[in-house]
């Protein structure tokens, strides 16, 4: 029941990405493992680590993370499991005094002595950023707080990851009840008006000031869902596809007046991915801990950026609100706004020119004056792709037609091919390529409509890119191929 009921054996950095002072350090402590069960503990921890590091966004941020396993033995195995909550009445003498039934009512509420856990973490890994205690029991359970707990029951690692969302990344709960939707509780109808400090819940329904507005598409309704009966949890299904960021009513323990970013999220219910806002928050916390690669210079840090293109010494970015920026040479602050039209869905650059395509198919060329200096080159709603190479600009339409711009706005377009099977075009140097739905790849040889030479006929090919004199293709199995012919 106390630290006299076991001992600290050792501490091992099982995920080692550098000095603890420079990384985000997670400490995992074990409780209820006897000396002869330490290998089981190590296996259990490794299994949890595998799950954590394959969970987005931790998978992409692994370089920022150290994980320290502290091997702790206990006199007895397991945890206290009182009869008051339906347990067998087991009393286990363990180092951190793990106990189910932490509130004397719910067996799954698994608590430990937090002060002891803090003390051990301070001593073993002074630079810790988060602490978890893994308890040697196959009974499903866990709890939150600064020291998160979870048992080795199947699926309980989800508890630990959810709790890290709270304890290490300051995320709020996104569920819309306290005891449960069916609990009969009557004090969960309307959230207080004050804005929550956490990144992933809000009371604000103003699109222009919404704190995750940079992740919301202009076509997404705000609010995205509203609860028609604030006396109960909202029963409606999501009206948008999974992963859509919007404003969904019902969050932060209230049926109405509080909103969450996506319909589902790990902070709303276990066994879901983190929503985009939560992922962004976690990444923001972890990013400073990533190893520095001195040969890379940070030029901008805006999560709204969705496309970059570069040509002739210039770098451009497009954001999900349609804004187009040109880099002027000063990292982070040196970006010149060239346009701010939310209809922009693609940019392309080559030959000293910058182009943009709108969601209505219109194609524009930048003429040198920010915001107003854009020349309309075509206004065909069928246009779905533009590519630029050298002094050439091409467009592909949803009917498969491929056109080259010849220099006269609106009318100066030369038809190069009219095959409805065309899926994508790519261009580099003086070459233009197309790939068909059946995987056939063709290169334009100079004669409109008939002047196309077939380079491949593999049905596994799904995409092509071109650069310099090289052409690459990607297959549906992920394989990448380079064309070696002439």
């Amino acid at each position: 029941m106390t630290t006299a009921d076991g001992s600290i054996l050792s501490t091992t950095r099982i995920v080692d990405n550098g000095p603890p002072a420079q990384r985000w350090d997670l400490v995992i402590l074990g409780d209820g493992y006897q000396t002869g069960q330490i290998q089981q503990y190590r296996n259990d921890v490794q299994q949890f680590v595998n799950v954590l590091l394959s969970t987005p966004p931790f998978d992409a941020m692994q370089g920022a993370i150290n994980i320290h396993r502290v091997d702790v033995t206990s006199t007895d195995t397991g945890a206290d499991d009182p009869t008051a909550c339906g347990g067998p009445g087991t009393t286990a003498r363990t180092y951190f005094d793990a106990t189910f039934c932490g509130d004397s009512t719910n067996r799954r509420l698994l608590v430990v002595n937090n002060a002891t856990a803090l003390s051990v973490a301070n001593a073993q890994v002074p630079q810790w950023n988060a602490i978890l205690v893994m308890v040697n029991s196959t009974v499903y359970g866990g709890a939150g707080g600064q020291v998160g707990t979870f048992s080795r029951a199947p699926g309980a690692e989800e508890i630990a990851i959810h709790e890290l969302g709270h304890s290490a990344f300051g995320l709020a709960d996104e569920y819309e009840y306290f005891r449960g939707c069916d609990s009969g509780e009557t004090d969960r109808n309307n959230h207080p008006a004050n804005e929550p400090a956490e990144a992933n819940v809000t009371t604000n329904t103003n699109r222009a000031t919404l704190k995750w507005r940079h992740l919301v598409a202009t076509t997404t309704n705000i609010p995205t869902t509203s609860n028609a009966n604030c006396a109960v949890c909202d029963p409606q299904a999501s009206p948008v596809s999974a992963g859509t960021v919007g404003l969904f009513e019902g969050a932060h323990y209230f049926h109405c007046g509080a909103f969450r970013p996506e319909f589902t999220c790990r902070m709303r219910a276990l066994n879901n991915p983190f929503c985009a806002v939560c992922r962004e928050r976690i990444q923001a916390v972890l990013r400073p801990f990533l190893p520095a690669f001195p040969d890379w210079q940070l030029l901008d840090n805006n999560p709204a950026t969705v496309e970059i293109v570069a040509a002739d010494g210039s770098l451009y970015q497009r954001q999900n609100n349609g804004f187009i920026w040109r880099y002027t040479g000063t990292p982070l602050t040196g970006w010149e706004l060239l346009d701010k039209n939310p209809a922009t869905v693609q940019i392309a650059a080559a030959g000293g020119n910058l182009y943009q395509r709108h969601n209505n198919g219109f194609i524009w060329r930048y003429t040198g004056t920010p915001l107003t200096g854009w020349q309309l080159l075509d206004n065909n709603p069928a246009t779905v792709q533009i590519v630029a190479a050298g002094n050439n600009l091409y467009q592909r339409q949803n009917t498969g037609l491929i056109w080259r711009y010849t220099g006269t706005p609106l009318t100066g377009w030369q038809l190069l091919d009219n095959n409805p099977a065309t899926r994508q075009i790519a261009a580099a140097s003086n070459n233009l390529y197309q790939i068909h739905n059946n995987g056939n790849i063709w290169r334009y040889t100079g004669t409109p409509l008939t002047g196309w030479r077939q380079l491949d006929n593999n049905s596994a090919s799904v995409a092509i890119v071109a650069a310099g004199n090289n052409l690459y293709q990607r297959h549906n199995n992920g394989f990448i191929w380079r064309y070696t012919g002439s």
Binding site: A143, Y175, S183
Partner: protein, 152 residues
Amino acid sequence: MSEQGRDIEPATSRAVRLTFAYEGNEVHLVSQQPLEMMLPPTDALSGYEGEQGFWVEVRSGQEETLYRSVVQDPFRQDSEVFSPDPEQTIARVPVEKPSGAFAVLVPDLDEADHVALMSSTEPGMALAATGRGPASELARFSLRLDGGSGVS
């Protein structure tokens, strides 16, 4: 700089882990542990007036906020209970925690004078029974070596 960009804080190598203990509605700073380590970036240093929740502010002697960290409310008198039942995997239950301890990590800044705990609830107050209003200063503690203690 893009309009929605955010600043990246310079890497800080000096930090202090502050360990607090509370009992009833009183909070005490138990220890200040100097550390050589990087910190997570600060949360927004402006524009959060009137917000609810819990956060820690490091302030200068002129009350300028130098670092702010939104964290889980350590005084909450409730806890999450989890279930493998996919119909409802999480719920909350009241839990009496009349005393406890927690730690926060803050940068060791030359201009830092004190740390303030900002909270919408007080120690011992059940979240379920309260409407959470704007956070207010619950306690402040000197970051000078001569220490200091705060009481709610």
